[in-house]
């Protein structure tokens, strides 16, 4: 049940300590429900939250400073360590901004490989987000299924780039290794397999009455709030705004594929849940189409110099990562080192609305709501 702040405060006058007694509850930085080192300072009135103030920076690594003292290729591995669950899209933004600034052409085969691996990575990321969230809500089984499926994706990606988590597979002008027949066949087999699993997930979790009671109507985020905080990704699309960077600011070759942007208008946590589940299906559709028209040719542009020098100017490049819009703002001075790198990360924007959305909420509901934001803390702290 959703209470307004006023209703909640009116109710809380029945709490033990009288109408105005509050206490501070420290959630985290080591807390299983925050999935990393996020601390939330909660001012509680009984079981109701008066104020929830996230405290960030526990895993701050100053990636933006690191960007200023290494050259363009050396910074590439950094970008896969922000949101480690969707590293492909993050490295894509970095190679994308440099390719845009230097006007480097990318062979078609490389773009196809990027799309396929990015979408596989998105599915893997949504599986973790989904499993971990359901586990927060008390259902332990689903995460085991989710990790089983994710394992299949990680095996495929490991086969082509060697990494299982912090992929650093893309290069300026292409990708580092060509894909082999085993990867293509494995991905082809994975699509129908995952579709079957999605049916099972729907039966097992989506329709579950306990889950629905926990997340329906919880954590309302209005469209106006999305705009004021810059919410993005499934959070935005769960609030009825059909905005996806792949469509809005087309990059790579996403315009070649036929896919939908799932959108739900309920504005609650359940809507965000359903957006993610639908996005898995849409990613499978993109992979299927990309495999059907997968071209021959080079996998990397051979003319790209080893040490890239970017012409002076400032450039932005955004990609749709699993959690939303990831944008790199690059200010270059013409040398081989960036002058300024700004990393706009989706989780920071999505968490920044937590305080406003949480006021007056019950604590267990706030944790269910936090799960619906699908946070990755290193992405916030950078």
């Amino acid at each position: 049940m959703l209470l307004t702040k006023e209703q909640a405060l009116a109710r809380s006058t029945h709490s033990v300590g009288g109408p105005n007694e509050t206490f501070v509850l420290n959630l985290g930085p080591q807390h299983p429900a925050t999935h990393g080192v996020l601390r939330v300072k909660l001012t509680m009135d009984g079981e109701f939250i008066q104020r929830a103030e996230p405290v960030c920076g526990y895993i701050h690594r100053m990636h933006e400073k690191m960007g200023e003292n290494r050259n363009y290729s050396q910074f590439l591995p950094n970008t896969s360590r922000l949101d480690y669950l969707s590293a492909m899209q993050y490295t894509h933004a970095w190679v994308g901004v440099v390719e845009k600034a230097c006007k480097i052409e990318v062979p078609e085969r490389a773009e196809y490989i990027r799309v396929i691996t990015s979408e596989l990575n998105r599915i893997a990321s949504h599986l973790v987000g989904w499993g971990a969230w359901v586990m927060d809500l008390g259902g332990f089984t689903p995460i085991l299924y989710a990790f089983d499926d994710r394992e299949k994706i990680l095996d495929l990606l490991e086969g082509i780039c060697g990494a299982r988590l912090t992929f650093c597979y893309y290069r300026f002008g292409g990708v580092v290794n060509d894909v082999d027949a085993a990867f293509l066949q494995g991905t082809k087999d994975f699509v129908p397999y995952m579709r079957e699993r999605m049916k099972m997930y729907k039966k097992l979790v989506t329709g579950n009455i306990i889950l629905r009671k926990r997340i329906e109507g919880i954590g309302m985020i209005s469209q106006d709030m999305c705009r004021r905080y810059g919410a993005c990704g499934p959070v935005l699309r769960g609030s009825g705004i059909q905005h996806d960077v792949r469509r809005a600011e087309p990059y790579s070759i996403y315009h070649k594929f036929d896919y939908e942007i799932p959108v739900y208008h309920e504005c609650d946590s359940m809507a965000r849940y359903l957006v993610r589940m639908d996005e898995i299906e849409q990613s499978l559709r993109i992979i299927e189409q990309a495999l059907a028209t997968f071209p021959e040719g080079p996998f990397v542009n051979p003319k790209v110099p080893k040490f890239v020098k970017v012409p002076a100017g400032d450039y932005t490049y955004a990609t749709e990562a699993a959690r939303g819009r990831f944008m790199v703002r690059l200010v270059a001075d013409g040398s081989d080192t960036p002058y300024r790198v700004k990393l706009r990360t989706p989780c920071l924007a999505n968490l920044s609305l937590f305080e406003e959305a949480c006021a007056g909420m019950l604590l267990p509901d706030a944790l269910a709501f936090m799960g619906s934001l699908d946070l990755v803390i290193p992405d916030i702290d950078r």
Partner: protein, 205 residues
């Protein structure tokens, strides 16, 4: 109060407010060698002191972007080349009114950050706004003096700026006047240094 502007409408609106300055950025490299030679001649001839009013000559060879000071104005930008649609340079005094205008047009605050232009003794604050239905990406920038970097907060319009401004204050020491809680966001709570300033030498404590 049109809620979903096209790129042209938006450009026209802001170009009326901040007309693009005439192109005058090209002849910058020419005057560089000139002031050095005359400085020696008055000494040798013993002529009465003729103070040459040339205190600021560009010294170190830096990239062209570091020397140009973009004038106020609204410029339409090629999205394919740069990644955004409208580039708007405004005086620092106007940030709140421009933010309000963009909010009325249903823009969303994407992010904001700073850039340290140490050679020009300036700090630049860059705001990114995106529109969810027309997909416009507008960049708003303004420059403040580097020795006293402060400007008004836009967190009363876009609450997302509460965190972005704290982060920008962390990294650059830019103060946002009127911000309710300008304490370190990502840096340690007792941090007194600003690591993205170009003269940052390391946190010594």
């Amino acid at each position: 109060m049109s809620s979903s502007p096209t790129a042209e409408q938006l450009h026209a609106e802001f170009a009326a407010l901040y007309p693009p300055a005439p192109v005058a950025e090209k002849p910058a490299p020419a005057p560089e060698p000139a002031p050095v030679a005359p400085a020696a001649t008055p000494d040798a001839s013993g002529a009465p002191v003729a103070p040459a009013p040339k205190p600021a000559a560009p010294k170190a060879p830096v990239g062209p972007i570091l020397q140009t000071e973009p004038p106020f104005g609204a410029t339409a930008v090629d999205f394919a080349a740069r990644g955004f649609h409208l580039d708007l340079s405004i005086p620092a005094a106007d940030v709140v009114s421009v933010a309000e205008r963009l909010y009325r047009h249903e823009f969303s605050l994407d992010t904001m950050t700073g850039v340290d232009w140490m050679k020009l003794n300036q700090m630049e604050v860059v705001y990114d706004f995106v529109h969810f239905t027309t997909n416009l990406h507008v960049v708003v920038r303004c420059r403040v003096p580097r020795d006293n970097p402060e400007l008004a907060t836009i967190s009363s319009v876009f609450q997302g700026a509460l965190w972005h401004e704290r982060e920008t204050h962390d990294f650059f020491g830019i103060r946002f006047l009127g911000h309710p809680n300008l304490v370190p966001f990502l840096l340690p709570e007792d941090a007194t240094y600003h690591p993205l300033r170009k003269d940052f030498a390391g946190a010594s404590d």
